[in-house]
Symmetry: C2
Subunit: 196 residues, 2 copies
């Protein structure tokens, strides 16, 4: 006994998604088989619609359904501030914090020579091209090895161009218990202490 | 800043799948955004194709793309044996064991009064209707509370109809360490011991 081809095909396609192994793919396929036809159709349409309508913002490479994204279009944003992030999800996380009112630049990745990601695979050239009138670039790449390497690389480039550059702060997460913080984070939190 | 509607819609649709929370849905949506258009199209087509082509076998309720599934169509199968399982995935698991050459009957669930699943929500009536010439029914529902209750319920029905009925064996999984087996399983493994 083999599954019918339509089912095998669906399991294979679902199994190609990140974080979904063969077992999950099979479970999802059976789940979808048991759903009403409209629900499966609306998932398929959402997929096609997203792929057809979404693109990268021409200026900051955020995800948008227009030529320029809603942040870049907003005249109320501080035009002299650019916050550099790795991915659109990071941009949204910063937006949710409500602490930032400048523009963004989405790199779509971080430097990772082991995985073949060099400066040319990221949107670094377009970043350098939009520095006119910018008074500060905030490097908000992740605090992983790749994110740190990317921030260091950009800091050197921007330093040569005499653009003031900053890095988001390291320290204890708010609500965090000292006991459970790793030693590197705790060390950074102490060395970066602020006068009250 | 809000996500464009096409992206929000895709995240919402993906988040409705079982085991996929809002964060995973967002991650999947960004992943799909970065994939080539053909890949996203082929996922969407697999969804529509599966939903359009697949149905339940008229006899055993297995998933099939024809009126009767490949197991029921196979003349080499022992026609007098029916193995009752909860789901098509269970059927395939038994097929992979290579130990069974009879027919199947897929209940599409297990009795669960708490969740509103009674005998009428399962394919029990069609099972009773196909018992002519059957020499044994093997109850291979799960060894969960619901699976056990379903097996007990069917055993009573089949007993009244004088159909020989068996239950799959309980015991230690092959490769299992006694130390890590739960006490109920271990107790069953001892009481169901076999002479060598």
């Amino acid at each position: 006994m083999r599954y019918p081809p339509a089912l095998t095909q669906l399991i294979r396609e679902l199994g190609r998604l990140p974080g979904i192994g063969p077992k999950s793919a099979q479970r999802l396929a059976f789940y979808l088989f048991n759903q009403p036809e409209e629900d499966v159709k609306s998932l398929a349409e959402a997929l096609l619609n997203a792929k057809g309508n979404l693109r990268q913002c021409e200026r900051c490479f955020n995800i948008t359904d227009q030529e320029v994204c809603s942040v870049c279009r907003d005249p109320g944003r501080e035009q002299g501030l650019i916050c550099v992030v790795e991915a659109p999800a990071d941009l949204l996380a910063i937006e949710r914090s409500g602490e930032y009112s400048g523009l963004y630049h989405v790199l779509h990745g971080a430097l990772s020579p082991m995985n073949g990601v060099g400066p040319d695979q990221l949107t670094i050239q377009p970043l350098l091209a939009r520095l006119g009138g910018v008074r500060e670039v905030i490097l908000a790449t992740a605090t992983t090895v790749e994110g740190e390497a990317t921030a260091m690389y950009l800091a050197r480039l921007l330093g040569e161009l005499k653009v003031p550059t900053s890095r988001i702060a390291y320290g204890l997460p708010v609500g965090g218990d000292l006991e459970y913080a790793d030693e590197v984070t705790l060390g950074r939190a102490i060395s970066n202490r602020r006068p009250l």
